[in-house]
């Protein structure tokens, strides 16, 4: 061997290239898979016209109900829609979409989403669990990997809208999605009418700012429960409402009356939107049919497509679509 630091490659030489160790090979495979996934994410980003994140600062406000409702309401317009249930530890979108117990179909290394009501495509961690009682206890990096796989390895096809349902709060999940999926339109914030801590509000604002994503609007869920009934025409009805109040209604000529009880107070969503200078998309009534529908796997929009909840969702979707720039942009010249 010459002492020269320069080596030349002789193609006729009978030398075998140095083989990579199993660890090196594994690293190379991982890097290759990561690169393929990144390219796939960019490709997916192009195939999906609009991507909307659904979040809330606190739990139990009905994010999954709103996510599935938005998806179904958009699908009712004849649009192709998908839902990505990012709530790794508590996925419940499949149950609401009538897909309980379904398994995902994998072909050539690509995951094919399940199809729920109105042809809405669904991907959820719930499809991968052997038992719905089994908790998913994953630390951050594993969760992050699963989310990236859910984005990069899923064969969504062409979609008009992808609705992404998140767990409550401002944790890893929205950050990972915002960094992985290109051209996200923005966030929908779900709230209930009552006031909660200042801290949550500040966190959410700072969070949307740090992600550089616009807030498309606020949706107020569980806004008011409407009691309807029949009584003698023209008679006055008194109903005991929360906080010791009494609500009065008068039965019409057909003897029908209706009174709306503001169980969790009223107008918090609109107030919040005004305070933070973001659009208010609308309020959803407190509808026990959502609970029954969620448990039975028949969403309220499917079981009662012309009912008050479906109408409220249609109005919210319309307001949401107004916020999404189609192509032309605002036409504003900034100098």
């Amino acid at each position: 061997m010459s002492d020269s630091p320069v080596t030349t490659h002789d193609p006729n030489a009978d030398e075998k290239p140095a083989e990579a160790s199993p660890q090196e090979q594994k690293k190379m495979e991982q890097a290759y898979a990561q690169m393929k996934r990144k390219m796939s994410m960019e490709e997916i980003g192009k195939k999906i016209k609009h991507k909307i994140m659904v979040l809330s600062g606190k739990g139990g406000v009905g994010k999954s109900t709103v996510s599935t409702g938005l998806a179904l309401s958009l699908a009712q317009q004849g649009l192709s829609v998908g839902i990505l249930d990012i709530d790794i530890t508590g996925p419940n979108v499949p149950k609401m979409m009538g897909l309980d117990g379904q398994r995902l179909h994998v072909e050539s290394g690509r995951i094919h989403p399940a199809q729920g009501h109105l042809g809405v495509k669904v991907i959820s961690m719930a499809f991968l669990l052997d038992n719905e009682d089994t908790p998913v206890v994953w630390r951050g990096p594993i969760k992050l990997g699963a989310i990236q796989q859910f984005i990069g390895d899923v064969e969504w096809g062409n979609l008009d809208y992808l609705i992404i349902d998140f767990p409550p709060g401002t944790s890893d999940e929205p950050l990972t999605v915002a960094q992985s999926l290109p051209d996200i339109d923005g966030m929908v914030i779900v709230t209930t009418p009552q006031e909660v801590a200042l801290l949550d509000s500040r966190k959410s604002i700072t969070f949307s700012e740090s992600l550089k994503l616009p807030i498309l609007g606020v949706v107020e869920n569980m806004s008011g429960y409407t009691v309807t009934g029949k009584a003698a025409p023209g008679s006055e009805i008194e109903i005991a409402a929360p906080a010791g109040k009494t609500l009065k209604a008068t039965a019409n000529d057909d003897g029908e009356f209706s009174v709306t009880l503001d169980i969790f107070k009223k107008g918090g969503g609109r107030l919040t939107a005004e305070e933070f200078g973001v659009p208010f998309l609308g309020a959803l009534p407190f509808d026990p049919g959502f609970v029954r529908g969620g448990d039975d796997g028949v969403h309220r929009i499917v079981s009662d497509p012309e009912g008050p909840s479906a109408i409220a969702f249609a109005a919210i979707v319309s307001a949401l679509q107004e916020q999404i720039i189609e192509d032309a942009g605002t036409g504003l010249e900034i100098i």
Binding site: T191, D200, E209, L271, F276, E333, I334
Partner: protein, 130 residues
């Protein structure tokens, strides 16, 4: 405490209907906003920053004393042209090198400022909830 703004409108009567904003020109000390009906308004950077709608700045405008302090803080900042970004199709966001950049300014808010009206509509800020 709004600084008077330039207005090239015939007459003093302002319409409540907001025209579409067509141009947003950043100048040395203020921004010149042009609307589709041809009207033009100047808003100083100090006015813009003092009216930041974020949850940190808004409560400070509830009380005169803290509002004046906020104004003093804003006026003490270096005069700089902000980076402007369009938020959705309903608002603008401003990024300043110093000071608060959190507020999302709805077009309606900028319209109120341009017309020298209180963008908070005289309502005190109350923290809401997501």
């Amino acid at each position: 405490m709004l600084v008077p703004v330039l207005k090239s409108f015939d007459g003093d009567e302002m319409t409540d209907e907001m025209p579409k904003m067509t141009r947003f020109e950043r100048r040395e000390l203020d921004v010149l906003v042009t609307y589709a009906d041809g009207s033009e308004f100047a808003i100083t950077y100090d006015d813009l920053r003092h009216s930041c709608p974020c949850a940190k700045c808004s409560p400070l405008r509830n009380v005169d004393e803290t509002s004046i302090n906020l104004r003093k803080q804003v006026e003490a900042l270096p005069k700089e042209k902000p980076k402007v970004r369009i938020v959705g199709n309903y608002a603008l966001g401003f990024e300043w090198i110093q000071g608060c950049s959190s507020g999302i300014f709805r077009f309606e808010r900028i319209w109120e400022l341009a017309n020298r009206r209180d963008p908070d509509s005289g309502k005190p800020y109350v923290h809401g909830a997501w």
